[in-house]
Amino acid sequence: MAGLSLRGVTKSFGNVPVLAPLDLDIADGEFLTLVGPSGCGKSTLLRIIAGLEPQSGGSVSIGGNGVDHLRPHERKVAMVFQNYALYPHMTVFDNIALPLTMARLSLLERLPLLRLFSPRRRGIVEGIVRDVRSVAEQLRIEKYFDRKPGQLSGGQRQRVALGRAMVRHPDVFLMDEPLSNLDAKLRVHMRSELAELHSRLGVTMIYVTHDQVEAMTMSDRLAVMDQGHILQIGTPDEVYKRPASIAVAQFIGSPAINLLAATLRSGGQVELNGSTLPLRIAGQSEGPVSIGIRPESVRLAAKSDDVSFPVKFRRRENLGAESILHFDAAGVEVLCKVAHEGHETIVEPGTDMTLAFSPADCHIFGTDGLRIVTEKIELQSLSGGNRAAALAGQK
């Protein structure tokens, strides 16, 4: 088992840059998810780590040792592919056994006929059978040993692919959207099974997905990627509660975060629809800013300290335990997630209403899309210099 680190890894296909220089450290036993929209370079990064794709620059090390010069199987990594990449002509047993066959038998011992002359082959094969059985038992696939991948369901194939990855006891598990070919129900099930597997094996896992729910639910840390850059790395909580940029805020969270246009006035005050927020921003030039509010932070009834803004009710989506309410705030769609309390009043579409949110729940982003660190109005008493230092530290 080992951690992994990337230093200045870049990749370009011809003149097209795919990955900007990336630094990334993954701790031993960590479950790190690379998440981002398709085409953001996350799969390419995974393939570079696996050794399937050479990087254009930078270096990869696993367990403190550089692996740039090593072939994929020499890196002690295992990979689960999106389409599982099981060998269709081999039985489930042979599929799982292949990595061991390759590692433990010499080329001559693997060739037909010639292998009969090896005296030690029998013992090795018995060892392989034992190891394959123990992995298959963990994944509950022993009963499919004689079947071929074509005769298995998606979930079973997924398990075989996992078995093939596990059987070699790799240092690092690499998974490239392993759940994307499963139906919704099975995906939820496999999600928890994978998380369980990770805690049982205690092995480092790097997981690529475009599904933010998978990223949020399974990972110790997630790295949000877009256009070849890592936008933010942090625990699911950090990324959700303190998104570093609009792109991260919009990508993580469902339904997506609400964005309201506001203005930053001189003196660090933020103005929304003519009313001033009880916030202060230091060190930023005045101009337009965006206020991001998660749908679950939007309230129908204002509490003290809350900022309120007028909206028109549009429609309600019933999700059973909760509802998503759609509003129109001067041409901008605002979503509000509310739990059912059993006494909802039915409101006609088009009704004028007022929504509110707590200043503590809002995220403010500058025109460059990056998060602006805010302070509550109480901080005002600090002297200018101290405040700037405090802010710098916070950032």
Binding site: P72, A78, M79, A85, L86, Y87, H89, L98, G150, R164
Partner: protein, 304 residues
């Protein structure tokens, strides 16, 4: 329920009748074409078998299995059958393995792939009659460049087409040369159909040297393609005719007589049309038996 069952059939029977009629009229064009182009000639062929009809004759009589008995004892037929089988035995493995090898080499090329495809495919597009003339010149004992090269190397003159022992292998080599391009294209299609991530999985699993990649991934996944190539190559090889007709005319001394050439001679040179029909039937039986055997034996090993 029973009342309804009594009433409905009148309309259902009518509906069934209409459906059957529609089905027949939809399949009729294909069936008629099949009948006219394949089944009727085959029927005529089988009928001719049992007669003594000669091309241009006014009448003919029924002679039963005499034609078969004649074929059974005819030394020319035995010889041409043996020659054909030898030719097939060289062309099938040679044409399949060489084209597989070429396809794997060409498949790895990225920019020059198109160029190689065209080069290897050229023999397929050219008429073999014209090419046979070219080969005849190339292999000519005194004028041909092949022999002048052999003389220059010190091996000396080789009579490719006039040595009875060499003539079939030489024709087979030309047959392979003509087939490689076509088979290569088939293999290339098969190679392109192998998912790339299987090679990547093999790479991660440690099957990364060329021998392992070929044995673990390429060869098994090319199974269906290989089966198709073997069957088509077999049939093409069994039908060898043009090179024999142009280059050797069955010579020297019948050493290159093949089945199709014998049929041609019997039918169109000696006008023994009924006997030629018998030979054609034997020819058909051979290709059919071999194709079916190959399909059944290979099919079980190939599909997954």
């Amino acid at each position: 329920m029973s009342a309804a069952a009594q009433v409905i059939p009148a309309t259902t029977r009518r509906q069934q009748w209409v459906e059957a009629l529609a089905g027949i009229s939809f399949s009729a064009p294909a069936f008629i074409l099949l009948l006219l182009t394949i089944l009727a000639p085959l029927g005529a062929l089988i009928f001719l078998n049992f007669t003594d009809y000669e091309l241009g004759a006014i009448d003919f009589s029924y002679i039963g299995l005499k034609n078969f008995n004649h074929a059974w004892t005819d030394p020319v037929i035995r010889r041409s059958l043996a020659n054909t089988l030898l030719y097939v035995a060289i062309v099938v493995p040679g044409g399949v393995l060489i084209s597989l090898f070429v396809a794997i080499l060409v498949h790895r090329r990225t920019r020059t792939r198109g160029l190689y495809e065209v080069i290897y495919f050229l023999p397929v597009t050219s008429t073999l009659i014209a090419m046979a003339t070219m080969w005849q010149f190339l292999l000519h004992p005194t004028l041909g460049p092949v022999n002048s090269f052999l003389k220059w190397v010190g091996i000396g003159e080789v009579a490719f087409l006039s040595n009875p022992k060499l003539v079939i292998p030489t024709l087979a080599a030309i047959g392979i040369w003509q087939l490689v391009g076509f088979n290569m294209v088939l293999f290339l299609a098969g190679l392109s159909a192998i998912p790339r991530d299987l090679y990547e999985a093999a790479d991660v699993d440690g099957a990364s040297n060329p021998v392992d990649r070929f044995l673990r991934v390429t060869w098994p996944l090319l199974g269906p393609t290989t089966m198709f190539v073997i069957v088509t190559t077999f049939i093409t090889a069994f039908k060898v005719f043009d090179t024999v007709a142009v280059m050797t005319r069955g010579g020297p001394g019948g050493a290159s007589e093949v089945l199709l050439y014998a049929i041609y001679l019997e039918g169109f040179q000696y006008f023994h049309l009924s006997y030629a029909a018998t030979l054609a039937l034997i020819f058909l039986a051979f290709t059919l038996v071999f194709s079916i055997a190959q399909t059944f034996i290979l099919d079980r090993r190939v599909h997954y």
